[in-house]
Amino acid sequence: MNVQKQNHSSEQQEQILKDQKKQRKASYQNLMLSVSSILLFFFIWEMVALLKLVPEHYLAPPEAIFRLLIIKIHDPNPDGAVLTVNILSSLQISFTGFIAAILIGVPLGWLMGWYRVVDSVVNPIFDIVRPIPPVAWIPLTIVWMGVGLKAKATIVFLSAFIPCVINSYTGIRQTNPVLIHVGKTCGASDFTIFWKIGIPSAMTMTFTGIKLAIGNAWSTLVAAEMLAASSGLGYMILQGRNFGRTDIVMLGVLAIGIIGTIIITLFSHLENVVLRWKRK
C-alpha cells in the first residue's frame, strides 16, 4: 500500500476554493471588527472632549493630539527635541539593552538547563537578582555610569535578561527524553544532542521569553527616562507633565503603545518563520 499525494478532482477543487473564500470573508470581518473597535474608542474619546465632560487641560481631544503629532515632527518645544529624535533615542536605548539581554540571557538559560554544573554555579546568584525590580538599580547605575545611553541600556538589559533566561531554561528542560535517546542511539555526543536536539526543542519557549523581554524592555525604558534623561519618549512625557501639557503626555503615551505593538508584531512574524514547522 503506497501513500501518494492526492490529486484533487475538479469537484473537490471547487469545494476547496469555496472554503478558502469563506475563510477570507471571515478574516476580513474580524479585521473590520478590530478597526471599528479602535474607531469607536477614538469616537468616545472625542465625544467626551467635545461635550466638555472633562476639562480640556485634563484630556485633549484626539484631533488635537493628531495636530500636535504633526507639529512635534519639526518643533522641539517644549521638551527640547522633536518627536522623531525622541523616538530614535528611546529605540536606541531599548534595543541596545534588549539585544544584549538576548545574546547573554538566552544562551545562559540553555546552558543552565542542559549542564548541571552551570546551573549550580549561576542559579543562586540569579535567584537573588531575579526579584529585584529593574528600576531599583537606577540610582546605582547613575552613580556608576552617569545618565547616558550606557546607564539606561543597563536598566533595560536587567529587565529583559530575566525572562530570556527563565524561558530558555524551562524550554530546554522540557526536551522530550525520547528525542535525546534518538540522538544517543545515533551516536551523537552530548554537545551535539544539546545543539541539534535540545536547542531546537527549546525554541518555542525561548521565543515566548524574548517577547516578554520586549515588553519589559520597553516599559522599563520609559521609567528610566523619566528619572534621568535629556531626550526620549519617557523624558518627553515627564516634560509634558512639568509644563502641564497633557496633550504632550498623551502623545508620548500613544507613541509608546503603538511602537511597542509594532515591535511585538514584527517579532511574531519572525517567530512564525523560525518555527514554521509548527504550522499544521
Binding site: M1, G183, C186, M203
Partner: protein
C-alpha cells in the same frame, strides 16, 4: 524457510533491577537468548514489565547489572551504530522535514550531504513516502510518522533493527496495514529484526521466532518457532492454534 543459523547477537544471563520507593524491584531476571542473522525475532511480554528495559540494554542506552550482551563475538559496550532503533512513541524531530529526519542518523555518522540525501531518498521510497520529503512531522498521520521512523532506522544500514512496540500508538486499522508493511520492508531489505510487542496476534503474524517473557521480573518463559509461510492468514487454524497455545502460556498483566 531456510534460515542460516548464524548467531549475530547473544544475551547471557542479563539481570537488571531498580530502586523504587526505597525497595529493590527486579525488572529482568536471568535472561539469555540468541538472535540469528536475518531472522524476524519477536519478544512478547505482558504489560510494561522488563521489555523496554531489555531493549535499552540491547541498544546500549543502559548497561546491565549482571550478564553480558555480545554483538557477534565481542561484548557490547554502550551505544553501537550497528544497532538501530524504531521507537515506541513517535520520536521524530518536529522541526525537521521528513527527509532530514530520515537522514539524521547519517548526519550524526558524518556522511556528506549529497550522499545522505541519496540514501534517505532510497529509504523514503522503500517505506512509500515519496512526495512527502519536504513535509514536517506535524503534517503526517500516525502511520506515516512511524514509516519515517522505520526509514530512519534502516537508513544507517545497521546489522540489527530494534523495534520497541512501534505500532502500539496506532489505531487498529493502521496497525494491520503497518504490520503488512513491515513484513514487506523486511523481505525487501533483509536485516535482523528484534520486534517487541505485547500483542499476541501481532507476534504470531510477524515472528519467525517468538520469545515469550514472563510477568515481573521478566525472564524467558518459552520460545516458539513458527514455520508458517508469510504473509500469514490470521484465521488459519494453525495460526489460531499457535495463538491459543501462546495465549494460554502468557501471564496475565494486571
Amino acid at each position: 524457510m531456510a534460515i542460516e543459523k548464524e548467531v549475530i547477537l547473544q544475551l547471557k544471563n542479563i539481570e537488571q533491577s531498580y530502586v523504587v520507593d526505597n525497595s529493590v524491584k527486579q525488572a529482568v531476571k536471568d535472561v539469555s537468548f540468541n538472535v540469528y542473522k536475518n531472522e524476524f525475532l519477536v519478544i512478547l511480554g505482558p504489560g510494561h514489565c522488563g521489555k523496554s528495559v531489555l531493549l535499552n540494554i540491547i541498544s546500549g542506552l543502559e548497561s546491565a547489572q549482571k550478564g553480558q550482551v555480545y554483538l557477534g563475538a565481542e561484548p557490547l559496550a554502550g551505544v553501537d551504530r550497528r544497532i538501530s532503533l524504531v521507537f515506541q512513541r513517535l520520536a521524530l524531530l518536529p522541526w525537521m522535514t521528513v527527509i532530514d529526519n530520515v537522514a539524521f542518523g547519517l548526519r550524526m555518522a558524518g556522511i556528506a550531504k549529497a550522499e545522505r540525501r541519496k540514501i534517505a531518498q532510497k529509504y523514503i521510497n522503500l517505506v512509500g513516502l515519496q512526495g512527502f520529503e519536504k513535509s514536517y512531522p506535524s503534517q503526517l498521520s500516525g502511520g506515516m510518522k512511524q514509516r519515517v521512523g522505520i526509514a530512519r532506522a534502516y537508513a544507517v544500514n545497521p546489522e540489527i533493527l530494534l523495534m520497541d512496540e512501534p505500532f502500539g500508538q496506532l489505531d487498529a486499522q493502521t496497525r494491520y496495514a503497518m504490520q503488512e508493511e513491515i513484513l514487506r520492508i523486511w523481505q525487501q531489505e533483509k536485516k535482523t529484526v528484534i520486534f517487541v510487542t505485547n500483542n499476541i496476534e501481532e507476534a504470531v503474524y510477524l515472528g519467525d521466532r517468538i520469545i515469550l517473557l514472563s510477568s515481573c521480573p521478566a525472564h524467558v518463559k518459552a520460545e516458539y518457532e513458527i514455520q508458517m509461510e508469510k504473509p500469514r492468514n490470521t484465521v488459519d487454524p494453525e495460526f489460531l492454534r499457535i495463538r491459543k497455545e501462546i495465549s494460554d502460556n502468557t501471564d496475565l498483566a494486571l
